[in-house]
């Protein structure tokens, strides 16, 4: 019988998918807006206004011209908001004229987004050598359901952080990320109560593929952020590395001891269980299982348990963090990375925690933390965990071979580390480094000149305050001072025109790729729900395995994770947005 050819691994595929989207997003640097039609979902009270293309280039803008400055034309729209457009030929335009720029509708942008994702993921499905017809049907339903959840999560009464601004009396203030939780709940309903539908979705139910692709894309946005705060970014990375070294050494040994000593598990069960509970769920359980030559059934069983408990943590921990860790946002981020045991669950928890803590800090303390740093911390910790799985599996394989189950002639090569190395991490590192290298010189140049511009702005503001009470002679002197400062600012601004353009392009590129990152996140949440079949696990006799899992996870893993996160991240705060 001819053996069915094996396709690419999900790990490699996620690397390529993420890189394709990243490279397309870079088109803006060459003046080509390739992904600008991607659909952006905003908080809504009127459903017709929730969807729009992410880039202004594709948006329909209609209104009255209020200002023309070279090629920059400011338009006042029907809702009173102003928008500035760059128009090549402004010769025939004047202030007060009506202006309309045709774009694409929100529904059309959603349709384009779906078709793009279908083609890209379809190619991925071919590379995976899975049934393409089943994949297309499954993916279409997964995309549809997940996106409906995403839109519902943006409903004003659920998501708005400032209800007054949204024109409503109250809101749960959960931010649009509530859509993730909704997608997860719907996924759980499908998994546990609709086995027929769950089966139809099987080929497209790939949470690890979706989250790894999202992480590759996310690297770019984090690279831009890091360029603006290199010291903070390097601190997060080093501390993340320290946190996981600690977690590996302490967690694993404790769980292994508890499983062996008190629950009487055999070595074959205890090692994958310890890795699954303590390190990084599925991949660690599988890598450890392979390292100690356990039968395949062992890591598979442990993995299904890991996925289910990651869902429970995902639903609970971000809200616990919001209650207790608003003053230590990055401790919360690292905690999610350390405590939630799947890539999808951890990064997703980081994203939800990011939204919840920022919303709370803004409403209760008036602190507007920059978005994404909590997610970045959770992701950094998780990625180091993934990288170390290979090393840890190698160490365990070596100990098992040479000390515990000594078999003559068996040798472990260092190539095992590469085999176990999560390849999507290469994509994350590449997108992060490329954007960091593009943006860092620009950020540095802007930073240096802003140090000169900001005092001048303060000077202008102080002089303007004095103007109303000044006598004519003093007023003339003040005006002269203001004009001189403004001229200086103009001169300095001219020097950083190019760096500002670079940062603006980088922001647009990452904003566009971020649309797909969010989309992969929603798909992750929904499909995590779909693979979490509590009923099946219960029927299989989860009892003893679940008992050791619950004891270790809630007994000390979560708390040691919190302590380690606290030790390495307390006092480290995300940048604060002012003004």
């Amino acid at each position: 019988m001819e053996e069915k050819r094996k396709g690419i691994s999900e790990d490699w595929l996620s690397l390529w998918l993420g890189l394709v989207i990243f490279i397309l997003s870079l088109g803006v640097f060459a003046g080509v807006d390739i992904l600008g039609w991607g659909t952006k979902t905003s908080t809504w009270t009127d459903l017709s206004k929730t969807l729009a293309p992410v880039s202004k280039h594709f948006e329909t803008v209609k209104g009255e011209i209020t200002k023309i400055d070279g090629q920059k034309v400011t338009i006042k729209k029907a809702d009173g908001k102003e928008d500035t457009l760059t128009i090549k030929d402004t010769a025939g335009l004047k202030v007060g004229d009506k202006y309309e720029k045709k774009g694409i509708s929100g529904i059309a942008s959603l349709l384009f987004t779906y078709l793009f994702m279908l083609v890209v993921m379809g190619i991925g499905a071919v590379a995976l050598r899975i049934d393409i017809k089943k994949f297309i049907i499954g993916f279409t339903i997964v995309f549809g359901v997940a996106y409906i959840c995403w839109i519902l999560g943006h409903y004003g009464y659920i998501a708005a952080t400032d209800p007054k601004k949204a024109g409503i009396a109250w809101s749960l203030k959960l931010t649009g990320e509530a859509g993730y939780i909704l997608a997860l709940i719907v996924g759980l309903v499908v998994s546990n109560f609709m086995p027929g539908l769950s089966n139809i979705l099987k080929e497209a139910t790939r949470p690890e593929l979706y989250i790894k692709t999202a992480i590759v894309i996310m690297g770019a946005a984090l690279g831009v952020k890091a360029a603006g705060a290199l010291g903070l970014a390097s601190a997060i990375m080093f501390r993340g590395l320290c946190a996981i070294v600690e977690a590996y050494l302490i967690y694993w040994a404790l769980v292994y001891f508890v499983a062996r000593k008190y629950f009487k598990f055999s070595k074959e069960w205890a090692a994958p269980l310890a890795s699954g509970i303590s390190i990084c769920g599925v991949s660690a359980a599988i890598a450890t299982g392979a390292a100690i030559r356990a039968r395949p059934v062992v890591p598979i069983m442990v993995s299904s348990l890991v996925v289910v408990f990651a869902v429970i943590e995902l639903v609970i921990l971000p809200f616990v963090a919001q209650v207790f860790l608003t003053k230590e946002p990055l401790v919360a981020g690292a905690w999610m990375g350390l405590a939630v045991k799947t890539d999808g669950g951890a990064v997703a928890s980081g994203a939800v925690t990011d939204s919840l803590i920022r919303a709370k800090a803004l409403t209760t303390e008036g602190i507007n933390y920059a978005e994404g740093w909590i997610t970045m911390t959770a992701t950094t910790v998780k990625i180091f965990i993934d990288i170390f799985i290979g090393i840890w599996a190698f160490v365990l394989a070596y100990i098992w071979c040479t000390k515990i189950e000594r078999k003559p002639g068996e040798r472990i090569g260092a190539g095992e580390i590469w085999n176990r190395f999560p390849k999507f991490v290469i994509g994350y590192a590449a997108t992060f480094a490329i954007l960091l290298l593009i943006c860092w010189p620009a950020s540095k140049a802007i930073g240096i000149l802003e140090e000169q511009i900001n005092p001048l702005k303060q000077e202008i503001s102080a002089a303007e305050k004095k103007l109303p009470t000044a006598d004519p002679a003093a007023r003339a002197a003040l005006n002269e001072k203001i004009n001189a400062a403004k001229d200086k600012i103009k001169g300095l601004e001219a020097q950083i025109k190019e760096p500002r353009k670079t940062i603006s392009n980088a922001n647009l590129a990452t904003e566009e790729s971020n649309i797909f990152r969010q989309l992969f996140f929603v798909l992750t949440f929904f499909t995590i729900g779909v693979v979490s079949n509590f009923k099946k696990l219960w029927e299989e006799g989860i009892g003893k395995l679940a008992a050791v899992y619950i004891l270790c996870l809630f007994g000390f893993i979560i708390w040691i994770g919190l302590i380690i996160s606290w030790i390495f991240f307390h006092g480290v705060k995300p940048p604060i947005i002012t003004g």
């Binding site: 010291g231 903070l232 390097s234 601190a235 997060i236 080093f238 501390r239 320290c242 070294v245 600690e246 590996y248 050494l249 302490i250 694993w252 040994a253 404790l254 292994y256 001891f257 062996r260 000593k261 009487k264 598990f265 055999s266 070595k267 074959e268 069960w269 059934v297 062992v298 069983m301 100990i399 000390k403 515990i404 696990l537 299989e540 006799g541 989860i542 009892g543 003893k544 395995l545 030790i567 390495f568 006092g571 480290v572 705060k573």
Partner: protein
């Protein structure tokens, strides 16, 4: 196609294996190195990667 093994059955099949001295050593060393490194890593991160402290 062979039937998927049930978790409960697999767990029943599991035989008791006492904790070997080498395993105790592995656990002890792992936790020991972890605690020892904790102090060093905290020191390095506070000194060289202050990040707001």
């Amino acid at each position: 196609m062979p039937e998927e093994p049930k978790l409960a059955e697999e767990l029943k099949k599991m035989e008791y294996e006492p904790l070997l001295p080498v395993e105790k050593k592995l656990i002890g060393w792992s936790i020991g190195i972890g605690l020892g490194l904790l102090a060093i890593l905290v020191w390095i991160s506070y000194i060289f990667f202050p990040g707001g402290h």
